[in-house]
Amino acid sequence: MKAPDFSYYEAKSLSDAIKFKSQDDEAVILAGGQSLLPALNMRLSSPSCLIDISKLKDLSEIKLDDNSIYIGALATHNQVMDNLIIKENFSSLIEILKMVAHPAIRNKGTHGGSIAYGDPAAELPAFAVANNAKFILSGLNGNRTVEANDFYLGLFETDIKPDEILVGINYPLLKSNEKIVFEEVCRRHGDYAMAGLIAKVKINQSVIENIILVFFATGDRPNLTFNTSKLVVKNGYDYSSLKKSLSSEIDFAGDLNSSAPMKLHLATILIGKILKKLEN
């Protein structure tokens, strides 16, 4: 499994990388490489050139301002997990990242890489959608902001344009009555989930006022639900009605480890698990 031949270019700056990318539509961006390199080694991908942006230090900043947390696209998962701003303001993200692959992968894999790749079984795209995050893309014509929920268009299909590079993600700061909870079911620790759920909840005096439910590993992209969320707020956990609602909202796609009916069942019980977590 040796990669096919390609050229390698170490970008000197972001604009350099953008320029290079726009000139060659078969060039790909190399950030953490933890998804790209396996694809190359298995010859599932034959780019003309790898544009290495991994050494652009200013793209890995993590900043806090009045109402948002900014995570630079090149911050590695472990950098995010070790970061004080994240620990103090966004600890749910750390808990979620513990489920992502394994430590050595997390030392290289980047936040932006996972977001931009858009694997429907991954946690971070769903996390971004649940938080209504804003993605900052930089291209030949400058910067563009896209809302997370508008970014994922289909199976590994995103709104990123050929000349664009994802440079950072803005997450709104959680208000005092807001909480992120998540649950996933996987065969082995660190594997992609059979089904997962990230929920952003607004609680008012122990009552759930609003709940955003985003499922992952269920379809071809993060699955944000509407009617199901409303049902949960209205009636709490009821397996049959929630299952019925989910089956009408999400186009479940089975995979090697779980069929579509199983994912539907798991998605339903995940709501129950989330609600139980909130009680505690």
């Binding site: 096919p4 390199l37 790898l50 394994h102 050595a104 290289k108």
Partner: protein
């Protein structure tokens, strides 16, 4: 800058300098190291899933099959051949004591992961140790003796 299918890299491996070495752009770091006779780093899947190729790059454990040699320009690498400090000697003694290896093929990667566990200075439970090594495949031991060796190493060193 012109584009070639080979690049020149300079890096240090286990304290030894490699200056201006020409590598194919597509060659991953594990293959580069092995081509230099440092065959302790093993290939089990070239997909990042088995952990056999785990080495230390600039102080962090990484999968060397998922890094291009080209990217290692300017880096400081430590492979299993370079695990000779006092801490790792204790770890290796515990691995030997508990027979925490049989065929030895997973050992370099397993030791690298262990090095990172020890460096974190955290006192981990057996379950937590299992979680930390959950990305290193071993077919021979069933993992229990490895957990035993790491548990004893944590208790001894930290």
């Amino acid at each position: 800058m012109s584009i070639k299918n080979s690049v020149n890299i300079s890096l240090s491996v286990n304290g030894e300098s490699f200056d201006n070495v020409t590598v194919p752009t597509r060659q991953h770091l594990a293959d580069f190291l092995r081509s230099q006779g440092l065959t302790g780093t093993h290939l089990g899947c070239e997909q990042g899933a088995c952990g056999a190729c785990t080495i230390e790059m600039d102080g962090k454990a990484v999968r060397s099959c998922l890094i291009l040699a080209s990217q290692a320009n300017g880096s400081s690498i430590t492979t299993v051949e370079g695990f000779d400090d006092e801490v790792m000697e204790k770890v290796k003694n515990n691995f030997l004591k508990h027979n925490a290896f049989q065929c030895g093929f997973c050992s370099p990667g397993m030791l690298m992961t262990t090095k990172e566990i020890i460096s974190s200075k955290k006192k981990l439970s057996r379950d937590e140790i299992r979680s930390e090594i959950s990305g290193n495949y071993c077919r021979c031991t069933g993992y229990q003796s490895i957990v035993d060796a790491i548990e004893e190493s944590i208790n001894e060193i930290n």
